[in-house]
Symmetry: C2
Subunit: 331 residues, 2 copies
């Protein structure tokens, strides 16, 4: 008999052993049929289900020197919960497709499972991992499907904004990009390779920015709240305020006018920065905004530009496109 290794690599274990370690961490199922069968069976109380998928890929989406397994699980959950929330829905379940290099440590995988569970508990109570898939890959990849319930509300689409509506935001604008900048500036070696984050070396506001990047906390429950409050349009701000506002403007055939005085001390950073997963929503101007949303602009008749800032065309960089912007560095 050989001694079990303290922290084996997944390539040394059977699929069943890795799966068992994950299932032991993800917490109790709330589904009609949870993990362990060919598929999960979930309740869809009002006869509809909201469904989205988003993938985090080692390299373009995260660096292992910066993100722990817990961070990665948390972020993979959070970004998908935000897409469900942006339809006005309450997240109910995650399915997680994990593709792991054989040299991945089991402790990393269990930490990832812990992060998935913790993000659900913190951001979308009642939502749990109800299924998934485990494969080997040269590239660590986490594809999460999130499902949600509308509880009788109509889905809030990008296309419903009307001229005269107030434009409002819940969550951060630019903070996650600020965190990424700090990581690139402060935590790379002489050759540009990412090195571990020394949180003690950061000021509290820098730490908050790095956390927003590595472990974002979008205001998930404000999505259904906005739907109940009568939001006419809503979306998740994942690629930067201007780029995503452009999408909302195009879908609604309106112009979005952003108020830079409402965007904090560094409006340019707020306009361009991605990955905050804030909720951008339009509301009828006559009604008070639901708690947690702040006014950042207004919806105007469609003009020559999809997005204006204080009424003028926006000339800055619009946001993040992974096909354009990835620097192909690993780490």
């Amino acid at each position: 008999m050989t001694e079990p290794k303290a922290d084996p690599m997944v390539g040394e274990l059977s699929e069943a052993a890795v799966l068992g370690a994950i299932l032991a961490r993800i917490g109790p199922s709330a589904a009609l049929v949870g993990p362990g069968d060919d598929a999960a069976v979930l309740e869809a109380p009002d006869g509809r289900i909201v469904a989205t998928v988003d993938t985090l890929v080692h390299g373009p989406d995260f660096r292992l020197a910066w993100s722990t397994g817990f961070d990665l699980g948390w972020k993979a959950a959070a970004v998908n919960l935000a897409d469900v929330a942006a339809m006005g829905a309450r997240p109910t379940a995650l399915l997680v497709a994990l593709a792991l290099p054989e040299a991945t440590r089991l402790s990393f995988v269990t930490a990832l499972a812990d992060g998935l569970r913790a993000a659900c508990a913190a951001l979308a109570p009642g939502c749990a991992v109800e299924g998934g898939d485990l494969t080997v890959s040269d590239t660590l990849t986490v594809a999460v499907t999130a499902l949600g319930a509308l509880d009788g509300a109509r889905p809030v689409r990008r296309s419903g904004a009307r001229p005269g509506d107030a434009l409002a935001l819940a969550g951060e604008a630019g903070l996650a990009a600020d965190g990424l900048r700090i990581l690139f500036d402060r935590f790379r070696d002489a050759d540009g390779r990412p090195v571990a984050v020394d949180r003690g070396a950061l000021r509290p506001e820098q730490r908050r920015a790095v956390d927003a990047q590595l472990r974002p906390s979008p205001p998930i429950l404000l999505g259904p709240a906005a739907a109940r409050a009568g939001a006419t349009a809503m979306m998740d701000v994942s690629d930067g305020l201007v780029l995503d506002a452009t999408r909302l403007a195009d879908a609604s055939q309106v112009t979005v006018d952003l108020d830079p005085t409402a965007l904090g001390p560094d409006p340019d950073a707020a306009l361009a920065g991605g990955e905050d997963h804030a909720l951008l929503a339009a509301f009828p101007a006559t009604m008070p905004l639901p708690e947690g949303f702040r006014r950042i602009g207004r919806i105007a008749d469609r003009g020559p530009g999809a997005v204006t800032v204080a009424g003028a065309p926006y000339a800055g960089r619009g946001g993040w496109d992974p096909y354009r912007d990835w620097d192909a560095a690993g780490g």
Copy 2:
């Protein structure tokens, strides 16, 4: 102005351009909200939804010398449709998370979209791609989430088989593994690297086996039919008949006795071969099997072994475990 390239690489295009090319191929949406918003909204007519995810990774799951983009899209759809069918459900929607190397040709991506659509049309009419996600990655990865409706039936789990039940199979047993063997034997160069499949060099039955491997056609509609006919347990045979029958036996706390005389000319290949995505189901012995299912054994009281073959313990190789069996070769 530069001329558009005839077949650009995705790294030369914006995410929106790649996405647009895919959306132009996947066909009409049948959802309440289809592709283009933060999430899809799908009908769940009886208040429940079946959900599963499965990933195909370049290397362990496919070789690009053997699989075309169309094959890959088809197979990624088929294996997930089979998991929905194995619960007794009718597939209604796919979400597709594509992680593409920057050098991937656009024509490969559009062929993959064609394959997804064609598999849905052929195997699960009414099911369509209703959402997805596009990322860059060093490793070509296709994670498909499939959703389905039970239409009032109870989900058919692995755990419901009872002693005395008939064990039945719909679909192939061993054919896909035979196809993989042909690919490994016939379509590699002197260094063992995969080379393109010359279908003209194959006999018809070999071509059928290679097709079963590269472009499987599991009997999706027989899943809901089995549920209506009263199946007590069902599962998708993805990792080999003995291995998956062991899972059914363990979940149901019974012993599965397989009848080798019902397994075709090469029972050993049928017992061990994976990736057929046939449906293995138990039915009360007193009722006729639904059309498309054939009897391949019976459910017995739990004995010392989970699976027996003609009443005797099975000594052969059980099936496919990607963590154990992948040879780490690319191609």
